[in-house]
């Protein structure tokens, strides 16, 4: 053993040196992983598409990606799922990617961020739509113009609506019947709604909430403001957009009212009808008919609704799949139109709120033609059937909102979803100007206070909301 190296012959310095060499070797070997160059599609010219969701959501799009690749084998596609709490959080992450010099080429953007992207980041689709007008005519014929108008900004179109959801009113049918309530009439009023809540309260005194709502831009206070013909922001329409309406919706009954997109440029929280709507909600909270609008999550709401602890809540078609997975049978719940205001100029319109989403092409996209091919393909019936095989959202194409989609899952009155647009043409999108994040923060900050105190607190909270909105809208997005 004379020639062999004994452990004690190895000095500490040698051992540490060997360790250092080992670390350097391991670093070199794993360099592609450390620099993320081994991610498929990274830096190989692939079209990068960012969506809000998990890796599972990205995988769920694989069928559509495969179908796209069969049509366009020359375009490589990489779907990047970005996890986020909500759309606001998702947009922050996209902006961080932009700042880091690694922006995606295409982003799936909901109404909440549509104007932010249109103002700063996205490429108008006008040229592409005009170029492929013959193909696009079939798409527009199947999609309600209100959804398209939500993606118009100052006369240009920035996205093609893929899916959407209105704030309809879900109700638990067994709770309703146990409370002696029949299905609400299509034109029920906010006072009918309140009476229904009171009946549920009487029949279920403990551990039950007749109306559960959340403090968010969608499904929170805004549907009530729309029902009363107002909003917390002033609403105007931009000029322009005739190129689209004249070409694709020339004979639509609402053609004359279509515009170049919505503009929300001023605060309107001091409007008497805003005060009136807030006061109605304050009354629900005060009388134990509705919760204070906490930051409720969709997942917990589904569980509470499915277990019969909530009577009613505003939600869109996206809720159906979740309720089915939570064990609710097709007859255990149903959906109705959102109530109209009982009196006043808005009572006939029964205006609803909706949100929609679609792909936006980034100005920085390397190959905009390839990006447009993806956007166009995604709007095709073939792609949308692959993407929306279950009722986890409402497809933008009217023809896909059919019996087959809701078969075995309910609700019985699934037609309510698309009828919300067809029967109430005044129905409008979530009010989300380019400064949406600051606007939403202002809303969330003040709504809870407005509806959970006395009349003085309500007025003070709305005055504070007005001030915060003024500041928010003054900012450059």
């Amino acid at each position: 053993m004379g020639d062999s190296i004994r452990l004690r012959d190895i000095s500490r310095r040698t051992a540490l040196g060997a360790l250092g060499v080992g670390i350097l070797g391991a670093t070199a070997a794993s360099w592609p992983r450390l620099t993320a160059t081994d991610i498929p599609g990274r830096n190989d010219g692939s079209l990068s598409i960012a969506i809000l969701g998990t890796a599972a959501d990205a995988a769920a799009r694989q069928k559509a990606v495969d179908a796209f690749r069969r049509l366009h084998p020359e375009i490589k596609v990489r779907v990047q799922a970005i996890q986020a709490v909500d759309w606001k959080d998702f947009f922050s992450k996209i902006l961080t990617m932009v700042a880091a010099g690694n922006p995606p080429d295409v982003v799936y953007v909901a109404t909440e961020g549509a104007q932010l992207f249109a103002e700063k980041l996205a490429q108008p689709l006008d040229e592409f739509v005009r170029r492929d007008a013959n193909v696009m005519a079939e798409y527009f014929a199947d999609v309600h113009p209100s959804l398209v108008e939500a993606f118009m900004y100052r006369g240009s179109l920035y996205q093609l609506p893929m899916d959407w959801n209105a704030a309809n009113m879900y109700y638990n049918t067994s709770v309703f019947s146990a409370s002696g309530l029949a299905r609400p009439a299509d034109d029920w009023t906010h006072l009918d709604f309140r009476a229904a809540l009171a009946a549920m309260r009487r029949a279920n005194p403990d551990g039950f909430t007749p109306y559960y709502w959340t403090n968010r831009l969608f499904g929170g206070v805004v549907p009530w403001l729309y029902a009363n013909g107002t909003s917390f922001l002033s609403e105007e329409r931009a000029a322009g957009g005739d190129w689209l309406w004249d070409r694709f919706y020339p004979s639509d009954p609402s053609r004359a009212s279509r515009s170049g997109g919505y503009l929300w440029e001023g605060p309107n929280a001091d409007d008497p009808r805003v005060v009136e709507a807030f006061d109605f909600l304050r009354g629900l909270v005060k009388d134990g008919l509705g919760v204070r609008p906490e930051e409720g999550g969709g997942n917990s709401l589904v569980g509470l609704f499915a277990s019969g602890r909530i009577g009613t809540t505003p939600a869109g078609g996206y809720w159906v799949q979740g309720l089915a997975e939570a064990g609710m049978g097709p007859d255990a719940f149903d959906v109705a139109f959102f109530p109209r205001w009982a009196s006043g100029p808005a009572s006939a319109a029964q205006r609803h709120q909706f949100g929609t989403a679609g792909y936006a092409i980034m100005k920085t996209a390397k190959d905009k033609d390839a990006a447009w091919e993806w956007v166009k393909f995604s709007a095709s019936r073939e792609a949308m059937e692959l993407l929306f095989a279950t009722p986890s959202t409402t497809p933008a194409r009217r023809s896909m909102v059919n019996e087959a989609l809701y078969s075995g899952k309910g609700p019985a009155h699934w037609k309510v979803f698309y009828d919300t647009l067809d029967r109430f043409p005044a129905t409008g999108p979530i009010p989300a100007p380019p400064q949406q994040a600051a606007v939403e923060t202002a809303l969330i900050k003040n709504v809870s206070l407005a509806v959970s105190g006395d009349e003085r607190q309500l007025k003070s909270a709305l005055a504070s909301l007005q001030g915060d909105l003024e500041l928010a809208l003054r900012r450059t997005p």
């Binding site: 204070r292 969330i444 959970s452 997005p477």
Partner: protein, 322 residues
């Protein structure tokens, strides 16, 4: 006058153990020293690079950014002191700093009080094996993600369906609007924060208590001290250096509170639980005003430095070193 004479020139020096140290061969000493220094720098390099890239550069960049307007999407524009003047007139920023200071006062006092009280109980009343158990049990919340803890606490404190209100209901207490009133929200944020963080202070206090010699207490007993007086005149002075460290760390952490209020209340209702770091986050990542957010960050940094300096200054009067 020194009692040891300096070694004469040329006399070989003795090493610490008294052996004669051999002079290095001519020409080798400087290179060995150089090699040794190089090796030292080599080992320090990862830490220096890490600190530089991930701590020093962001600090300097943030300070510089505070003098610019930058929205990520366009090039930064020099704004002088505009960001600082804007934040002084922004009511949300003022309220958030007020909330943060109020939170620090309540949360730190509670955190240190609970930690010290439990440490004394565990040290004096429990056998060694139970001490080990509680050391782990109280420390456990600290290793959990603050966001996860806050999410499940949000469920527990839900007014309609939360376990806390259900438990209170069993003894006839009506449902408390924990997360939907300013006072309730503030209480929950403080409770959740203290529950999650007192374990660290507890460990520090437990260590300090176990290092106090038993003889000191015996001497105090002989002098007639009992119960509270023993703690007042023996325990508290002897653990005062630890109290200083624990309070400095607790205050610095509490001034940066973010996760709990962000997840539990999003700063509401109104601005009642909005903190300075929340405003920094919202200003930067939601409103895209990175310069203004950096300015708020700089002010917070100065506040933390001032409070810490004040603590060390006051410590000269209150901290007793053996």
């Amino acid at each position: 006058m020194s009692t040891t004479a300096a070694p004469e020139k040329g006399t070989p020096r003795l090493s610490e153990n008294g052996r004669r140290r051999q002079p290095p061969p001519a020409g080798t000493a400087p290179s060995a020293a150089r090699g040794s220094r190089a090796m030292a720098w080599l080992f320090l390099a990862p830490t220096i690079v890490g600190m530089g890239v991930f701590t020093l550069v962001p600090i300097v960049a943030s300070i510089l950014l505070a003098f610019f307007r930058w929205d990520i999407l366009s090039a930064p524009q020099f704004a002088g002191l505009a960001n600082f003047t804007e934040i002084t007139s922004d009511p949300t920023v003022r309220v958030a700093f007020g909330n943060t200071i109020g939170f620090v006062v309540v949360a730190v006092v509670l955190q240190l009080g609970v930690a010290l009280g439990l440490a004394v109980l565990v040290q004096e009343r429990l056998p060694n094996w139970l001490r080990v158990f509680f050391r782990s049990a109280f420390f456990f919340p600290l290793i959990l993600s603050a966001a996860s803890v806050s999410i499940f606490m949000k469920y527990l404190f839900n007014e309609q369906f939360g376990v806390v209100n259900w438990l209170l209901g069993t003894v006839g207490v009506p449902a408390v609007p924990w997360l939907t009133t300013p006072v309730g929200s503030a209480c929950v944020v403080v409770l959740v924060y203290v529950w999650q963080n007192f374990g660290f202070s507890f460990l520090l206090f437990l260590g300090a208590l176990s290092s106090i010699p038993q003889e000191t207490y015996e001497a105090a007993s002989i002098d007639g001290a009992t119960g509270w007086r023993k703690h007042r005149h023996v325990t508290l002075p002897l653990i005062s250096p630890t109290t200083l460290v624990a309070s400095v760390m607790a205050i610095i952490n509490a001034l940066q509170v973010f996760d709990q209020p962000y997840v539990l209340t999003r700063g509401g209702p109104g601005d009642s639980t909005r903190t300075a770091v929340m405003v920094i986050f919202e200003t930067a990542f939601q409103r895209l005003e990175f310069g203004k957010a950096s300015a708020i960050g700089v002010v917070l940094m100065l506040l933390i430095m001032a409070v810490t300096a004040l603590q060390f200054r006051l410590s000269k009067r209150f901290v007793f070193y053996q």
